[in-house]
């Protein structure tokens, strides 16, 4: 079983509770952090204030609309100013606004306090998936990529849509309940936004910059969010799924991943045959490349070029490795050097050279990739 398969399996085993996301239809989702709770209450307060103003202002307007009609014999008065009234309805709103600003200010100060975290996780937005790096605290060193797991057939209407349609991923982020989690948010290509409504957290992921936010989930469960900043074609298809689990379950998850990761490294350290590379490359292609270049390799020209028949793919190893490792500026082609291991790069490039109509018949070895990287 691959690393990602283990990740998914262990996360599913750990969590029995159902998604909270689905419960809300008219209002914010039920809050599970103190910040989200404050936001919920602020919104309720604002609604009440607005409702009172609405009733008073439109009560007066509709009274006038119905009473002061020519058809009811109303004769127009001729007043057109009244300094006292005008001062009153300028000053009263100022006080109402102060009443709104005070609790909002307290909440902002709370939201910005990212000090003393128990765990620090970096979330990186990619077109169109999220990558997670556990940087500090229990689980330090864990890193994985989280892709939408809803099948294409459901999206295209060839299958019935599941309960968590578009809100489910292969590798969810897992955190322990009650721990203060500091999130460092960044992006690799364009601006994304990491959003989990039940946590009251939304932070734009800006390429080249790191911004931070935090949450402390008070309740175990599965919490779902989506990318909230338009990031291109598959903006609607890069959800966020966070599993909040007990501390012991979290420790099990961390240990399980460490064992799996050691096993994976050991398994990768061997001589790869072309067929092995192609098989592994197919998995890498499905996880990282298929959204743009399509399963058929035909791409969606001109934005996403075809790989089937591409001279770059079939040409010199150096050219192909360069674009995979370093990306192409000004296009959606990301630099995969930081995301993929030498084996994965070797596998996917070998796969490209020997798939669809491409039949170069050679392979690119992991050592060759390592050599190009060090250059």
């Amino acid at each position: 079983m691959s690393l990602s398969g283990r990740l998914a399996a262990s996360a599913v085993l750990l969590t029995a509770s159902q998604g909270v996301f689905a419960q809300s239809r008219y209002n914010f989702q039920p809050p599970v952090t103190t910040v989200a709770e404050q936001i919920y209450d602020l919104h309720t307060l604002m609604l009440i204030i607005c409702l009172v103003i609405f009733i008073v202002v439109f009560g007066v307007m509709f009274w006038s609309v119905f009473k002061h009609r020519k058809s009811r014999g109303a004769v127009a008065a001729n007043f057109h100013e009244n300094t006292t009234v005008e001062i009153v309805w300028t000053v009263i709103p100022v006080f109402i606004l102060l009443g709104m600003a005070w609790p909002a200010t307290k909440t902002i100060l709370d939201m910005r306090d990212t000090t003393d975290p128990d765990i620090t996780i970096k979330a990186t937005g990619y077109q169109w998936k999220w990558g997670y790096d556990y940087l500090q605290g229990e689980g330090e060193g864990i890193r994985f990529v989280s892709n939408l797991s809803t099948p294409l057939a459901q999206i295209q209407g060839r299958e019935d849509k599941g309960e968590n349609y578009l809100l489910e991923v292969d590798n969810p982020m897992v955190v322990p309940v009650g721990a203060k989690v500091r999130m460092l948010i960044t992006a690799n290509d364009v601006i994304h936004s990491w959003w989990v409504p039940a946590f009251g957290v939304k932070q734009d992921a800006i390429p080249g910059f790191i911004r931070d936010t935090w949450f402390r989930a008070d309740k175990e469960g599965v919490f779902r969010g989506v990318c909230a900043e338009l990031c291109g074609k598959d903006h609607a298809f890069m959800p966020i799924e966070v599993h909040v689990v007990s501390t012991t379950q979290y420790a099990d998850w961390v240990n399980g991943l460490k064992v799996a990761s050691i096993a994976q490294v050991a398994a990768d350290d061997r001589d790869w045959t072309r067929d092995d590379l192609i098989a592994r490359g197919g998995e890498v292609y499905a996880a990282h490349c298929v959204a743009c270049h399509q399963a058929s390799g035909a791409g969606i020209p001109p934005a996403f070029p075809a790989l089937d028949g591409s001279e770059l793919v079939k040409g010199e190893h150096a050219g192909l490795l360069d674009i995979v490792l370093n990306g192409k500026q000004g296009t959606a082609m990301a630099a995969f050097g930081g995301q993929l291991s030498d084996v994965e790069v070797a596998a996917v490039t070998t796969y490209l050279r020997n798939s669809w109509g491409n039949s170069v018949g050679d392979e690119i070895a992991p050592d060759e990739v390592a050599g190009v990287r060090t250059r």
């Binding site: 006038s64 009609r69 200010t105 959003w195 800006i206 910059f209 291109g232």
Partner: protein
């Protein structure tokens, strides 16, 4: 004061006829008419895009359009409605009505006026035409945020040039309006006697002159980042993607008021007419409009609360934004005080104006809620925001435009608008508007992001409702076309000079329809 323009030296019988009349015209009424027709065509084009979007969102899954085209449609819907429909429509009103309201014979720069208009069709062709080039239209959202906009194909460059051209057109139009209002008022018409529509447009024109160059700068930097190796917005080259957002919204927030202040002006003309009572608090209306305009320059980053600003920044922009509620509230209170103890009748223009106050104010309330930074961080980039800005832009700007169109249609065509059809248009629009956009508040609160072609299953019901409403709203706008065509073809009740019983102002002293040349003899205002 009476500036003699070349146009006055020959009468209209000697001008070119047919198509050439419209291409070469320097007459403010002809140009106003062209602006209004252009904006209505763009309104329909943007509407077709909106309905395609709503068709895709009718149910979960991808059915009608692919995500690439969907993003192009949302982007172009925004650009076309803002720069092609709403803004030119208000300039059309300004062209037609400002000279008539202040007793001027034409706009100050008549030839430049012609050029301001004729820049628009090429810009529209660039925008609409970009759908048909390789890669299609830009799909980066109407805000054109980099680095996404850097990834786009040549459709993006076409949009950049379209924005440049429309910006030049707007700046020229604005200069024309400022000079006309400041220099060409009839003797006796002091600034504080000016109709409020002229005041709001004067302030709007200053906003345009201040911020359109900022937008031009921002998109030019995008252009050089795309093609000439600069890195204004690329962190790898020492730039900052968020810098673009600051520049864009420094334009973008005043832009919001550019689209609503003239609407306030129109409503302030209509309410007193049908309440048969002078406008309440004229002076405070002028001060409130000016305050809104000035404040609009210091609130831009409330569009950017989720970018991760420093705490002090979040607090400042939240407080400044909340402050705008004060002058806006003053305006609403003044309108209601104008109605109070009036002798009201509800002809079509008054219905639209009353509907405007009611529905626009709901957009004001959600604006207050959006201003609270912690709440905004939750609802930013969700359907809540989509609901909010359609309440102020459709129920605000567009409803006021319709109110004004029904109000001045007799002056333009010489025929009264058909009350029955006009009222049908109003009630259909009001009801379908709310069916379309009210459920979007719930969608946004519950967590549906905007600019997505597909969504989770719990959003299905409200999306279906919104789509049904949208088609109703779209079709309702054809009723308006019916009213206008009827009046333009000379059918219906003939309008007198003072078409509405209690209408005040110089525009009602000239015959209906207004002759080609008006106020060749300068009127005197007492």
């Amino acid at each position: 004061m009476a500036a003699v323009t070349p146009d006055q030296l020959h009468d209209h019988h000697h001008g070119p006829t047919g198509l050439m009349r419209w291409i070469t015209t320097t007459n403010h009424k002809d140009i106003g008419t062209m602006y209004l027709i252009f904006s209505f065509i763009m309104f329909l084009a943007g509407g077709v895009m909106a309905l395609t979007i709503r068709a895709e969102l009718f149910s979960p899954g991808l059915q009608v359009v692919e995500p690439e085209l969907f993003n192009q449609l949302t982007t172009l819907h925004g650009l076309v409605m803002v720069f092609g429909a709403i803004m030119p429509a208000f300039v059309g009103f300004a062209n037609w009505m400002i000279p008539l309201m202040i007793g001027a014979s034409d706009m100050a720069f008549a030839r430049m006026n012609n050029w301001s208009f004729w820049l628009l069709p090429p810009a529209a062709i660039l925008l609409i035409g970009s759908f048909f080039v390789p890669g299609g239209a830009t799909a980066a959202g109407w805000t054109l945020y980099p680095p996404l906009s850097i990834q786009m194909g040549m459709g993006m460059d076409m949009a950049i040039f379209a924005v440049h051209i429309m910006g030049i057109s707007s700046i020229m139009g604005a200069i024309n309006i400022v000079v006309t209002i400041l220099n060409m008022r009839a003797p006796g018409m002091t600034m504080m006697k000016m109709p409020l529509f002229c005041w709001t447009w004067l302030i709007t024109a200053y906003l345009l002159i201040a911020v359109m160059p900022v937008l031009a700068g921002a998109v030019t930097m995008l252009l050089t980042d795309r093609h000439f190796g600069t890195s204004f917005f690329n962190a790898a080259g020492g730039g900052d993607p968020v810098l673009y957002q600051h520049i864009f919204w420094f334009f973008g927030h005043p832009e919001v008021y550019i689209m609503i202040l003239p609407a306030f002006g129109i409503v302030s003309q209509i309410i007193p007419t049908f309440a048969r009572k002078p406008l309440f608090g004229y002076a405070s209306m002028v001060y409130a409009t000016s305050s809104i305009a000035i404040l609009s320059f210091v609130v831009w980053a409330h569009h950017m609360f989720t970018t991760g600003m420093p705490t002090a920044g979040q607090l400042f922009f939240m407080y400044a934004t909340l402050l705008i509620a004060v002058p806006t509230g003053v305006k609403v209170f003044n309108w209601i005080a104008t109605m109070w103890r009036g002798s009201m009748t509800f002809e079509t223009p008054m219905l639209w104006a009353t509907g405007f106050i009611f529905v626009f104010t709901m957009g004001g309330f959600t604006g207050l809620i959006c201003a609270i930074a912690p709440i905004d961080i939750q609802i930013h980039d969700t359907y809540y925001v989509v609901a909010h800005f359609h309440y102020v832009l459709v129920a605000g700007s567009l409803f006021a435009l319709f109110a004004g169109a029904y109000y001045w249609l007799p002056k333009w065509t010489g025929r009264m608008p058909d009350e029955k059809i006009g009222k049908l248009h109003f009630w259909c629009s009001l009801i379908f508007f709310n069916i379309t956009f009210f459920p979007m508040h719930f969608l946004g609160l519950a967590g549906m992001p905007r600019r997505v072609p597909d969504y989770a299953l719990q959003f299905a019901d409200f999306n279906m409702l919104a789509s049904i409403g949208a088609f109703g709203f779209g079709l309702s706008q054809l009723i308006f076309l019916w009213v206008v065509i009827k009046a333009a073809r000379g059918q219906g009740e003939k309008a007198t000079a003072r078409s509405w019983e209690a209408a005040e102002g110089l525009e009602w002293t000239v015959p209906s329809p207004a002759p080609h040349h008006t106020f060749e003899e300068v009127p005197v205002v007492k």
